[in-house]
């Protein structure tokens, strides 16, 4: 049985909430310092470097990264609860986003958004109960194929029900820009970041402060122990998949305004999100978020400032960076080392 080892950070002698706050702030300051450092390096190496251009790349990278982070969070949630990597997460999100689009043809944005989230929850839970449940305890490879089958089926289903013509998806944020300290920032980007932040906070609060959240954490920790304590493990797993589907739906609906609705829109985002989740540590929600943001910014900076890479090799280059990080730290930035005992 795999037992996660103690986290690597030393125990600070303060309350957990305060510790989280300190670490969070530290991380934020550290990131800004790192970005400044990179910018300084680039002023020397790049002729056409401008600070406003640089920050613009960073901000749009963060917005992109927020979408990766949301989907990555969904992947992590499912992995922690059921030890399964859900390859169909992106297509589930696509399906829900199309449902939202259909709803938005009949009602205004936010009610449709909320209804879509409800649909996503039920959809995710239903998939877990009907399709995943029978294969949960089978070898890993079998489950992988099942989720791949789900991916292919949903992809075809979306194109079948709502034909593949490109469609516009409304955004609740105006398609304008604003200037912050000389940097032109898209309001859409700020909106996406805000929504992601709210989502993460709500999720955190749910897990931290509600009984249901506590029970789900227990199930993620050990299904057998929870069962012994009288928890209906099956329903908790379905709940986990439902929540993950909601996260995916948010990612999809945040991405759709700029990416446009297309049956394959989440396929490439899934790859990025997968990479972000593994980079951050497949069992760490914080890692998923950090991984997503880092990946988003990395891709933009690599593509813009490294000529050899240019636009073409952005994705492979980012993946190479990722793999190097994983080789140094196989459990990901925030993941836990898995100690296997026989």
């Amino acid at each position: 049985m795999a037992i996660p080892a103690r986290p690597a950070l030393p125990a600070l002698d303060v309350s957990p909430a305060l510790r989280t706050l300190i670490l969070g702030l530290g991380g934020l300051v550290g990131s800004i310092a790192l970005l400044l450092l990179i910018g300084l390096v680039l002023t020397q190496t790049e002729e056409t470097f401008t600070w406003s251009g640089y920050w613009q790349q960073v901000v749009s990278g963060l917005a992109q990264g927020a979408i990766f982070a949301s989907l990555a969070l969904a992947l992590v949630l499912i992995y922690r609860a059921t030890d399964i990597l859900n390859f169909a997460q992106g297509e589930m999100a696509t399906f829900t986003t199309y449902v939202a689009w259909s709803l938005m043809n009949h009602m205004s944005y936010w009610p449709a958004f909320a209804l879509a989230l409800v649909f996503a929850f039920i959809f995710g839970a239903a998939i877990e109960r009907t399709i995943i449940r029978p294969v949960e305890h089978r070898p890993e490879i079998v489950v992988v194929i099942v989720t791949i089958g789900l991916l292919i089926a949903l992809n075809g289903l979306v194109a079948w029900i709502w034909n593949p013509e490109v469609k516009a998806f409304d955004s609740p944020f105006p398609n304008r820009t604003t200037e912050i300290g000389g940097v032109v920032v898209a309001i859409q980007d700020l909106g996406v970041l805000a929504v992601t932040l709210v989502t993460v906070v709500v999720l955190w609060a749910f897990f931290r402060f509600t009984t249901l959240g506590l029970v789900m954490r227990a199930v993620a920790n050990s299904q057998d122990a929870s069962r012994l304590l009288g928890v209906r493990v099956g329903w908790m797993l379905a709940l986990g998949w439902g929540l993950a589907a909601v996260l995916g739906a948010i990612a999809g609906m945040m991405a759709a305004p700029s990416v446009f609705l297309d049956p394959n829109m989440m396929l490439i985002i899934l790859i990025y999100s997968f990479a972000a989740a593994v980079l951050g540590g497949i069992d760490s929600p914080v890692g998923a978020i950090v991984g997503g943001l880092v990946l988003g910014v990395l891709i933009n900076l690599l593509g813009t400032y490294v000529d050899f890479i240019g636009g073409e090799l952005r994705l492979p280059a980012a993946l190479v960076v990722l793999l190097i990080v994983l080789l140094i730290r196989p459990q990901g930035l925030f993941g836990h080392k898995v100690v296997r005992r026989v």
Partner: protein, 420 residues
């Protein structure tokens, strides 16, 4: 045991789907001097198209062609009184290659060896067509009216005599944009956003060729990959370069994205130029919804077919015929405003004319000979455009007009130009 039986059923089903024809006997061979695909009352033709996957938005094309062929099979020719072409019904077989050239090879082999088609018509995609071009030469099977604007088909006819193209080619189109800019906005600062493959690069080459000495009007050109999830990075750099003209050499979905993203990064170019393949109503409607109608109004492109949704053409004979054909002979429940159905019908019209030109007893050789003798008016094309080829000119369509978008329609704003 029950599980075993269920599994047996499942496996049986799978094998039934997988191997239905695996051990089928070969079909009865025709008389030795018969032309493959031609019988007394049928012509069998085929094509490969991306019906699923990333390029599935082009799927309406073979359906449009199918509708037109159904119409030809049902109507009586005014001169001969026969249905079909000289009494032969067209049998149209098309398969989904998912835009994977490896699949195109297998499916084209199926068409030629198994379905024994007379010719392949309108196959879509530069890479898929390139993949099977040598195959067609080896098998001496015509590969006609392919659905791609690469210049290979019009230029390399000596080396590949069994292949011919149809639509205006991208390089020539790029030159038209250059000419238009030089004539109407010679002080423009051009920013080019192009797809990083032969499609985008052909357009770019045409633009640069057309600008000639004034190539420096292009202040920045940036590319994107189909695997990019966001163009914000490139478009904000284009904005910063000071460009005031955005030229988009992008396929349809990326075009809508690019316009939406350009607005999102705060750029308001004076002029937007969109390549003809992406100048469809779907794309413009999507872009308008994301960036606002004012943002997209005034965009310029080129076209050689009538804009089938323009109210100006509501009572045009060809548009009315198109609507009738799609309603009576096309699939149910589709959106006939989709330009790709119209494209398919226009192409099918030219194929039928080509078959007539190949003679009462067509052979593969006579069909290819006909591709060098095309000379007629296609009613679905813009007025004045002539479908014309000769021994030395193998671009059937090389004329068009510059068009401008306004509130849902593309309107012609120039005289007829000749691209080649």
């Amino acid at each position: 045991m029950k599980k075993l039986l269920l599994a047996l059923l499942g496996v049986g089903a799978a094998l039934t789907v997988s191997l239905p024809g695996a051990f089928a006997r070969t079909e009865a061979t025709q008389a030795p001097d018969a032309v493959p695909g031609i019988t007394r009352n049928s012509i069998v033709i085929g094509g490969t198209f991306p019906l699923s996957g990333i390029a599935s938005l082009y799927a309406p094309i073979p359906r449009g062609m199918e509708a037109y062929f159904n119409y030809i099979n049902a109507r009586r020719d005014k001169k001969t009184g026969q249905r079909g072409i000289y009494g032969r019904k067209i049998v149209w077989k098309f398969y989904d290659d998912g835009y994977n050239p490896g699949q195109t090879v297998q499916l084209t082999n199926k068409l030629i060896l198994d379905d024994k088609v007379f010719a392949t018509v309108g196959a879509l995609g530069t890479e898929p067509v390139l993949a099977v071009r040598p195959l067609h030469q080896r098998a001496k099977v015509p590969q006609v009216l392919v659905s791609t604007g690469a210049s290979y088909w019009g230029l390399e006819y000596k080396k590949y005599p069994w292949t011919s193209g149809w639509q205006t080619d991208y390089v020539a189109e790029g030159r038209v944009y250059a000419r238009w800019i030089l004539q109407n906005a010679p002080t423009s600062k051009i920013g080019v956003f192009y797809q990083n493959d032969d499609y985008g690069k052909d357009y770019l080459r045409g633009l640069e060729q057309g600008l000639g000495a004034r190539k420096s009007l292009i202040v920045l050109k940036l590319s994107y990959e189909l695997s990019d999830s966001s163009y914000a990075s490139q478009l904000s750099r284009l904005r910063q370069s000071g460009a005031d003209t955005l030229v988009l050499f992008t396929t349809p979905t990326p075009t809508a994205r690019a316009i939406g993203t350009a607005k999102a990064v705060g750029w308001n170019p004076k002029q937007i130029v969109i390549n003809s393949v992406s100048a469809t109503d779907q794309v413009m409607a999507g872009a308008a919804r994301a960036a606002g109608q004012d943002y997209v109004n005034g965009a310029v492109s080129t076209g050689y077919l009538k804009n089938n949704t323009n109210p100006k053409y509501r009572n045009d004979g060809a548009i009315k015929a198109y609507r009738r054909i799609m309603a009576n002979y096309g699939p149910d429940g589709i959106n006939i405003n989709n330009t790709f159905y119209y494209y398919g019908v226009a192409k099918a019209y030219d194929f039928v004319k080509l078959m007539y030109l190949a003679g009462r007893n067509p052979t593969r050789a006579s069909l290819m000979a006909a591709t060098a003798k095309m000379n007629w008016v296609n009613p679905y094309a813009l007025k004045g455009v002539r479908i014309k080829t000769s021994r030395t000119d193998r671009f059937p369509i090389d004329q068009g007009k510059v068009i401008r978008y306004n509130n849902g329609s593309w309107n012609e704003i120039s005289a007829l130009y000749k691209g080649r």
